[in-house]
């Protein structure tokens, strides 16, 4: 997370770190005691589920809890070059025990809509700047949803923004997701402090650059796909 702050303990209890051979690769979000949502592109290089693990807590080391991955399901239409359908679900081999520090997030209905300029939060263990290293401590930043009109402008991302994607951040840059945050959550809350997962960190040019906000997989667009794979 570029220009973020270190997250307080238990602040984002649904955040997970997806690791291959115990090395952080991507973020993920807990949606039940056995399922997580992440980005499909996290599994481009490493396809063997048995070498993947998931850890919970605001530090990668020492983790609060660790689980092996039983399997992951990548969206059937995902093609790495196009970046569309950048969503996957991960099933862990044994149930997660909920606590004050580990909880699941709510999923919005497919029909829910979230307006541009809505305040949302991004969290992750990714780099602090482009080319930087992943972090051991979870970081957080507050950003805003950017309208498609703005994001599809030629000097921003033009036609690269497809249905099922949306932009969030600031046109001035600065606050943004970065390498290693992929697959992690973009969340918002209702007036009763119930939190909902509405985006998955997917791609962007560089990190925190002007006119290049983050691009997120739109959870409502894939809500029925998630239900079909996980039953949630």
């Amino acid at each position: 997370i570029a220009s973020g702050v270190i997250a307080p303990k238990a602040a984002w209890p649904w955040q997970a770190s997806l690791q291959y051979d115990n090395i952080h690769q991507c973020g993920a979000t807990l949606i039940s005691n056995t399922w997580l949502v992440t980005a499909a592109h996290c599994f481009q290089k490493y396809k063997n589920p048995h070498q993947w693990t998931v850890s919970f807590g605001t530090k990668i080391n020492p983790p609060l809890m660790k689980r092996n991955v039983r399997r992951f399901i990548i969206h059937e239409k995902y093609r790495s070059a196009a970046r569309e359908y950048d969503i996957a679900v991960v099933q862990v081999s044994s149930r997660v025990t909920f606590s004050d520090d580990i909880r699941r997030i709510c999923l919005p209905e497919a029909s829910a809509s979230f307006q541009p300029n809505l305040t949302v939060y991004i969290t992750g263990f990714g780099a602090l700047y482009y080319g930087g290293e992943s972090q051991n401590d979870l970081r957080e930043a507050r950003v805003k949803i950017i309208s498609d009109d703005v994001c599809k402008q030629p000097q921003v991302y033009g036609n690269d923004i497809k249905p099922g994607m949306f932009c969030a951040g600031y046109m001035e840059g600065i606050y943004d997701a970065c390498r290693g945050d992929s697959g992690g959550p973009l969340v918002t809350r209702d007036l009763k402090d119930t939190w909902y997962l509405i985006g998955i960190v997917s791609w962007g040019d560089n990190c925190g650059q002007k006119d290049k906000p983050g691009v997120y997989t739109q959870v409502t667009y894939y809500r029925n796909w998630i239900a079909s794979k996980t039953g949630i």
């Binding site: 238990a10 606590s99 209905e109 507050r142 209702d190 007036l191 939190w195």
Partner: protein
């Protein structure tokens, strides 16, 4: 002259340091007693969990423009939690009421079934069954006069939960966390 064992004629006036020790000891005893009373009466209140369920009949949630449209479960959750808050904050138990959490919304033919966990704090361990009835009657009574949501008052059911089950149910529900938001910028 009898040589009975008796008190010697030597004067037994307490020395000043002994008086000081006695005063400190008695103050300590008083402080500990007050502390224990406060602890058990105020702080040692037990959290009690009650499971409530009721049915919202074909809910229409007014969107920002005042038109009623088909509800979003997300909005229904928020409205219901607000409603239960208002009911108990406005009741004789407002000092005992902590929070409520909608743990499940189940769309059914004629509406939506709501499962909610209500959390209270009470000093004594009065009969849970008595409290259960009281909570049910508060809900029943208030729900009848509500316009925010068309709730079928006869569908209201309340059951006491064990603290462990209550705590686990709250932890297992989605989207809630124990930390208030304070992302400083």
């Amino acid at each position: 002259m009898y040589r009975t064992v008796g008190f010697g004629t030597r004067s037994r006036n307490l020395k000043p340091w002994m008086i000081a020790v006695l005063i400190v000891l008695s103050l300590t005893v008083v402080a500990v007693t007050i502390g224990l009373l406060v602890h058990f009466l105020v702080f040692d209140q037990k959290k009690e969990y009650y499971h409530g369920s009721f049915k919202i009949l074909d809910p229409q949630i007014n969107n920002n423009f005042g038109q009623s449209n088909t509800y979003q479960l997300k909005d229904l959750r928020e409205t219901t939690e607000n409603l239960v808050d208002e009911i108990f904050i406005d009741s004789a138990w407002k000092k005992n009421y902590i929070k409520n959490q909608v743990v499940r919304l189940t769309p059914e033919e004629d509406g939506v079934k709501v499962d909610v966990i209500m959390v209270f704090q009470f000093p004594s361990t009065e009969q849970r069954a008595v409290r259960e009835k009281k909570i049910q009657s508060i809900l029943n009574q208030k729900i009848r006069n509500l316009r925010a949501l068309p709730i079928n008052a006869s569908s209201v059911q309340v059951n006491a939960m064990s603290s462990s089950t209550g705590e686990l149910t709250v932890q297992a529900s989605c989207g809630k966390r124990v930390v208030p938001l304070n992302v400083n910028r």
